[in-house]
């Protein structure tokens, strides 16, 4: 997923910025997302544009983009079901299924619940 940010203000007296984050393919104009005030403290690496971008996204961007995702309107057609019971691919056809997406280095464990 690609993300974007836009700084709307820099306050040199307090070394703060007002910034907005969203996904590159967000459904709204970035200016419509909630602005956030951030201190340009030691957690933000101001060495160059690359380090600035990486650290600002790690410190704040990823969290805010996740919040936007959770608060965005959910289309009725996209409301997921939670299938239970034995796995059967035919039962899933036509259903909307919710799933977590993990970091690339993580793979899901195939666990099986057993009734004893």
């Amino acid at each position: 997923m690609k993300s974007i940010f836009k700084i709307s203000e820099y306050k040199p007296e307090t070394n703060q910025i007002i910034i907005r984050f969203c996904r590159l393919h967000a459904p709204k104009n970035i200016d419509e997302y909630r602005p956030v005030s951030l201190d340009l403290d030691e957690d933000i690496d101001l060495y160059d544009i690359e380090t600035f971008t990486q650290t600002i996204m790690r410190k704040a961007g990823e969290k805010w983009i996740e919040r936007h995702e959770d608060s965005e309107e959910l289309l009725f057609e996209n409301i997921p079901e939670t299938p239970k019971g034995m796995f059967n691919i035919e039962d899933l056809v036509g259903k909307v299924i919710s799933c977590e997406t993990y970091k690339q280095s993580r793979e899901a464990i195939k666990m099986r619940k057993v009734e004893l």
């Binding site: 977590e100 993990y102 970091k103 280095s105 993580r106 793979e107 899901a108 464990i109 195939k110 666990m111 099986r112 619940k113 057993v114 009734e115 004893l116």
Partner: protein, 161 residues
């Protein structure tokens, strides 16, 4: 030169999560508890040194060991000695406290709802043969007949909320 590789596995369930790592010899990894709330671990195979970065003290774990790293939090380092495979039991939230142990007795009764996880082999519980990553909820009103059958079963109970 071959760069040691590792792979991380994860599954979030209703009341806890399970993670696992597979790592090559000489792989070194550091993990913070913001990323993992691993309460207990079982070594399927291999050996590793476990400690805190920049501290001299460490302990070694090997195949079939069941142990906790919670006392080392917030930052844990692992230095893999042999081809390594470890499974972990994790809380969902930092405030949760869990008791965990390997089952060794032929019969298990629990005082409150608990969870059984098959870490290795094919144990038989109440006549059902399990395999790795099978899990079950245990009720306090029942008795569970266990035949470890050379395998390993973890038993976990949440002790506070």
């Amino acid at each position: 030169m071959t760069i040691p590789r590792y792979k991380h596995f994860f599954k979030k369930l209703d009341k806890f999560s399970v993670c696992a790592i597979k790592a090559d010899p000489n792989w070194i990894g550091v993990e913070r508890d913001v990323e993992c709330l691993g309460a207990y671990h079982y070594v399927v195979h291999g050996r590793a040194k476990v400690g805190v970065p920049f501290k001299e003290e460490y302990f070694e774990v090997k195949s079939k060991d069941f142990f906790s790293m919670q006392h080392l939090f917030p930052t844990v380092m692992m230095d893999i000695q042999d081809d390594f495979y470890m499974i972990g039991f994790s809380a969902l939230h930092r405030k949760e406290k869990w008791d965990g142990r390997l089952v060794t007795e032929p019969t298990v009764m629990v005082q409150k709802e608990s969870h059984l996880i098959c870490f290795d082999g094919n144990p038989i519980v109440n006549g059902k043969q399990l395999e790795r990553f099978d899990y079950a909820d245990l009720s306090p009103d029942r008795t569970y007949e266990i035949n470890l059958n050379g395998g390993a079963l973890g038993l976990f109970t949440e002790v506070s909320v």
